[in-house]
């Protein structure tokens, strides 16, 4: 009756895998038995993650790549035989009050959080569809969204726009890729103490204010998000598609 999280014989690709949530996802997927392809801009970070995966007796391959460079990403995909799982994670945030958002910041974020997310998803989907046994062995795409893909927040207007967009993309993709037995979902975490969020939390006032919005009274851990990703990647969630896993300690319930 209970389908345990098991990714044996699956090949997973994780973008933004050098740090934070992406790193945690890569390691969790490897722990669940997947062969993991890790992508990041920083060789040094990739080396560290590969080492951890090796230590936990997992298997990984790493490629340095900026996900906004879709040509470079295509070259990497050509080196891979098969792909079952994509964790479309690479993203960034430059918080600013709406009236003060700089044009170049908006464009930088949109290029990364939407355009690259779309390109990577499209390229990987093609690879996943091409697999002969796809009807039997399903594929799974997980977009890293956010609680801010569900509700607004001060100083987060561009991020809101990007992540609400990702929510829409996931639903559209789910409808179109269902016939190929590829599922598409998002994970929407609250604040997780990643290197990116640690920077924001240096502002103690901001941290206090944000924690007040989480009914469970704590930020999420990287493992909370990575476990949800592994669940969605596996056959434990075989009939879950076009939805979001909200890992937010109750933030959006209010």
């Amino acid at each position: 009756m209970l389908k345990k999280i098991n990714l044996k014989n699956k090949i997973a690709l994780v973008t933004g895998a050098g740090k934070g949530i992406g790193k945690a996802c890569a390691i969790a997927l490897a722990e669940a038995g997947a062969k993991v392809i890790i992508i990041s801009r920083t060789q040094n970070d990739l080396n560290k993650v590969s080492k951890i995966i090796k230590k936990t007796k997992g298997s990984s391959r790493s490629f340095v790549c900026d996900v906004t460079d879709d040509k470079a990403f295509k070259v990497i995909l050509n080196k891979i035989k098969k792909l079952d799982i994509l964790v479309n994670n690479a993203g960034n945030n430059r918080p600013e009050h709406f009236t003060k958002v700089k044009k170049e910041d908006m464009e930088y974020m949109t290029d990364l959080n939407m355009k690259a997310v779309f390109h990577i998803a499209q390229l990987c989907s093609k690879k996943m569809v091409n697999f002969k046994n796809r009807k039997l062995i399903g594929g799974s795409i997980i977009h890293m969204s956010s609680q801010l893909g569900k509700v607004g927040c001060e100083g987060r207007n561009v991020y809101n726009m990007n992540k609400f967009g990702v929510e829409g993309l996931a639903r559209g993709m789910a409808c179109e890729l269902a016939k190929y037995n590829i599922r598409v979902n998002t994970v929407c975490p609250t604040f997780v103490e990643t290197p990116m969020v640690k920077e924001f939390f240096k502002n103690k006032n901001f941290k206090r204010k944000m924690l007040k919005n989480i009914p469970l009274g704590r930020v999420a851990e990287e493992s909370d998000v990575a476990t949800a990703v592994a669940f969605l990647a596996s056959d434990s969630s075989a009939m879950i598609t076009g939805t979001s896993f909200v890992v937010d300690g109750g933030w959006t319930a209010q």
Binding site: M1, L2, K3, K4, I5, A24, C25, I27, A28, E31, A32, I52, T56, A170, R171, A174, C175, A178, K179, N181, R183, P189, T190, P215, L216, G217, R218, A220, E221, E222, S223, D224, A226, T227, A228, A230, F231, S236, S237, A238, M239, I240, T241, G242, T243, F245, V246, V247, D248, G249, G250, T252, A253, Q254
Partner: protein, 254 residues
């Protein structure tokens, strides 16, 4: 537990399941027991409670049952308020009498409201109070909702009214119970093949209706839903509260 991957592990936990003798409730009871939880089954059919006992005891966990209608508030209250252990509630007992809105009988309305709304509330409140009284470190309540808690369907006005209600209750409870570290979520399955829905599926037109509205073109199994319930019940979901896991093969993504 790995570095970043949390197991669905319920060893030492006690789970109470209403409507435990058939369909989703029975599946949840078995899945939770497979994850290591002790089971308290509430149902109305002694024979079926006995059959379940045999299955659960084979999994080497404790089992007790009470033959009781969830509408019988005082009997349930006496039972729940005397429990020595309670960590998980699967608030499952529910019913449906599909009728076109214009022809819904007053008796149908009352039957559905009594079980799906009033009993669901009462059982949740009694269990939450008992969890708090037992001074547990936390708890997890899973209300069984439906895709019809999110969207409408033919001849399901009363059912939708009650399941939309369960969605609201879930969010409200999650806020009030967060300070006790009791998480509250719902699962929203598509139409699952169970003893209750068997008669719907025997109608060819209905069968077609379900498949056509499910992009993955498969019927959700009891195991699909039970696995998500076990996930929510466990520490693997420790930051997930006030939300819904939608197990619908893409029905509500469109």
């Amino acid at each position: 537990m790995g570095l970043f991957l949390k197991d669905i592990n319920l060893k030492g936990k006690t789970a109470l399941i209403t409507g435990a003798t058939k369909g989703l409730g029975r599946g949840a009871a078995i899945a939770l027991a497979q994850a290591g939880a002790n089971v308290i089954a509430i149902g109305r059919n002694q024979n079926e409670l006995n059959t379940l006992e045999k299955i659960i005891k084979k999994l080497k966990v404790k089992y007790e049952s009470i033959n009781c209608d969830v509408n019988d508030y005082y009997k349930i209250k006496t039972y729940i308020s005397n429990l020595r252990n309670l960590d998980i509630l699967v608030n499952n007992a529910g019913t449906n009498i599909p009728e076109p809105f214009l022809n819904v009988k007053n008796s149908s309305l009352e039957t559905i409201l009594n079980v799906n709304t009033k009993a669901v509330f009462n059982v949740a409140q009694l269990c939450a109070n008992q969890m708090i009284k037992l001074k547990k470190k936390g708890g997890s309540i899973i209300n069984i909702s439906s895709i019809f808690g999110l969207v409408a369907g033919q001849n399901r006005t009363v059912y939708s009214m009650t399941k939309f209600g369960v969605e609201g209750l879930t969010k409200g409870m999650s806020i009030d119970l967060a300070k006790y570290n009791i998480r509250v979520n719902s699962v929203c399955p598509n139409i699952v093949l169970t003893p209750r829905t068997k008669k719907y599926f025997s109608n060819k037109k209905y069968n077609k209706y379900v498949k056509e509205n499910t992009p993955l073109n498969k019927v959700v199994t009891v195991s699909d839903v039970a696995t998500s319930i076990a996930f929510l019940a466990s520490e693997a979901a420790s930051m997930i509260t006030g939300t819904s896991i939608i197990i619908d093969g893409g029905w509500t993504a469109r």
